[in-house]
């Protein structure tokens, strides 16, 4: 079968543009309405997307005045969406810094069972002091320490997911033997960050464990992704940067002994679609006109670790900024934003306009053909295995993508027309079901 795109719908209340909630069409309460998310999920399923994705951080973001804040907890919302859909994958973000492996492993195994093998976990280490202070810490753990904890978290979670062999349930009613205790393998883990003694209290799930997804593009993030991730969400502004990132990550994955085909690279794209290019640009301008720039300045100062009041709206960024090494938060986001501003010599106002659309992801206003062309170029030229579709406005932007871009991609043979016989998310990614670490591989027949 020819290589085909993997598409993911990144759902976020009224859309990824920060001003989307102000449009007449938008429901400012969408962030807590199940019906809104059910509509989005079914639309993505109509487009035969591989998966839905929800971002997350265990804190209340920013100021309420600016834009919709608060949300339904992702695993809870995706569980509800599992029952409203049949095929589409369900990728929830969850933090390794602010969860216990036992609790989180249970929840993902349960979602994987309930959804028939459609669960995915976007593994994040969670930047920021705000989150840390909601969990008994005074400041965020250092970047490297967060990643060390994440690696141990994964090792423990994998032990828990493998703590039941697939055939541990015997169900011998006559003998009165329900399960085979020899097929239960308690982790007995004692590490730096975690001690977890006992087996999971959920049987091994359809996929063995959720699809492992990662989204940080820092050096620590790439090392982690090459070791564990099966899909990577990334923010890339140019084809050249995306190609370099793609080649680097595939090479690192191969160097670690994994098949580079078993890690799918999915840059984010914020399409703003119009029936003509002029109409698309007009949509984009309407959104920019609704940005409240004062809010954007504060957020940018926070990202760049500058004192409030440092930035001027109609000037460029200061010549001297902290180096990436000094950033303990979202390192790769920091570098992307600074490079974007420097490369295009953007004023702060222009930079906020660009970030308002996609927070550093590739924003692209155009006709359905133009969007399809960009996608095809990146896909064919070694920059992407697929895309994380981040509509500027929801639900209309996802409707437009599925109704107008998907048919073009299908006509070009780049996208499946339906889900077919592959039922789990990992099967759709062309990945084998992971073997249980306690079961010796079957001997090859001669």
């Amino acid at each position: 079968m020819p290589r085909q795109l993997h598409l993911n719908a990144f759902l976020m209340n009224t859309g990824h543009h920060e001003a989307s909630w102000r449009l007449p069409e938008s429901d400012p309460y969408a962030h807590v309405e199940l019906s809104h998310y059910v509509h989005l999920a079914r639309t993505a399923e109509r487009g035969a997307f591989d998966s839905l994705f929800l971002a997350d951080g265990p804190q209340l973001w920013g100021d309420l005045a600016q834009r919709p804040a608060g949300s339904l907890e992702p695993l809870t919302l995706l569980t509800a969406l599992a029952t409203a859909t049949e095929h589409i994958g369900l990728i929830a973000t969850a933090s390794t810094s602010y969860n216990s492996p036992y609790n989180l492993a249970r929840k993902f195994a349960s979602l994987d069972i309930i959804s028939g093998g459609r669960a995915g976990w976007n593994i994040v280490t969670t930047a920021g002091a705000e989150a840390a202070r909601n969990f008994g810490l005074d400041a965020e753990p250092a970047h490297a320490e967060r990643y060390a904890r994440a690696a141990e978290f994964l090792d423990v979670a994998l032990k828990l997911w493998d703590s039941w062999e697939d055939d541990a349930i015997v169900a011998d009613k006559a003998a009165g033997v329900w399960g085979d205790d020899r097929k239960i393998h308690p982790p007995r883990h004692r590490g730096t960050y975690f001690s977890v003694e006992g087996a999971l209290n959920v049987p091994r799930s359809p996929q063995g464990y959720p699809l492992l997804v990662q989204a940080g593009s820092s050096e620590d993030g790439k090392v982690f992704a090459a070791r564990y991730a099966e899909a990577v969400f990334t923010a890339q502004q140019t084809l050249a940067d995306a190609q370099a990132f793609y080649a680097d990550l595939k090479a690192r994955t191969a160097a670690g002994g994994r098949d580079p085909d078993h890690i799918k690279v999915l840059p984010g794209i914020v399409p703003v679609i119009g029936s003509t290019e002029a109409e698309a640009r007009a949509h984009e301008r309407v959104l920019e006109d609704h940005i409240v720039y004062a809010h954007g300045v504060g957020r940018l100062e926070s990202l760049l670790q500058l004192e409030p009041g440092t930035l001027e709206l109609d000037a460029e960024l200061p010549a001297v900024l902290p180096p990436e090494e000094a950033i303990e938060g979202a390192k790769s986001r920091y570098t992307l934003v600074v490079e974007l501003a420097r490369r295009e010599r953007l004023t702060v106002r222009q930079l906020i306009g660009r970030l308002g659309g996609g927070r550093g992801h590739l924003t692209f206003a155009g006709t359905p053909e133009q969007v399809a062309d960009t996608i095809e170029t990146w896909f064919r030229q070694g920059a992407a295995d697929g895309f994380n579709i981040m509509p500027a406005v929801l639900p209309s932007g996802l409707d437009a993508f599925v109704d107008h871009v998907v048919p073009i991609l299908r006509a070009r043979g780049l996208l499946r027309t339906g889900y077919g016989a592959r039922t789990t998310l990992r099967e759709r990614y062309g990945l084998p079901r992971p073997a249980n670490q306690h079961v010796a591989p079957a001997l090859a027949t001669v």
Copy 2:
């Protein structure tokens, strides 16, 4: 309106009798099948039960050989059931010892929103070293310390649920103001067990917060229940014991300044229903015949903190047993079991037979009229506000209860015929929606 029963369906894989999975009718994989639980939930909703309830402990219980082990994580399963039902309450057990307030408060607020105000939290402190060892501890925290942590956990959770005023969302598109930051109240909590700085990232939910439920009947448990609980699940073997417990808990609640009507006492009952008394007893004997007694001895020795091999199947319990004060696990369960054995001079074999049916809850074999009579007697004679229905075999036991006992209770005016206009779980319990601690009560109109 005359006082009416509150019924709760306690769901547990193939039923509450430990041998239920061995019956020909039972599905030994039911514990991980969503369709099994959807059927149970819809049956309970047909009976206009107030709520569904799932027990939980963050560990793999006992030996797999004995009976179905492992389960879907309760909040995950109840979220899926929320979308498969319309009216019934959804009460999930979750531990204050092995969760973070921020994570758990989010999940319950999310479930309450998704279900339209049907969430309940059965607050447990989780006995046992097995659970402790899954969360980095070597041994379980002492009983009193677990309850001290639980009280602080509740205080923090209530601060988080009240951190958004109900009208914090302004949604002023023209002015570009989404929310009112003055109506957000970060907890800024610094306590013995928890430090939680920031506001919850979920708006205040339909009920304000989930119905608070409690199930421990130790001294610490009753103090906690009188302070916080709106419903209490309890195991009572005799009418007199149940009356004493009921009177005590209502008096403690009133003494603490709360309306004693605002705490509902729901003893567990394990009905085994037959069209004649003889048929019901025959059902019960079939179940007893399927018990594997060797397993029961081990579990009983563990509960009584005896060395393995101490108990003899056809003798009574040893004359000398540890006092309740020495028990750091499930204190009230320990006392109930010892008193049951002493009062009825049961052999170990007989005791296991009695416990196999309901783990210390009232087991009752009889006709639908006899079951209804027992329920009515306890309800009218100051022993119960309703019952936690724990069918010995599922789904058949719940089907039988709803098809044959519910109509009798309705004919006697003891049970509602439908859900009516009250939509939230707390409304069905006749409780007011809790005020936000940051909002002054409205002045009374003159």
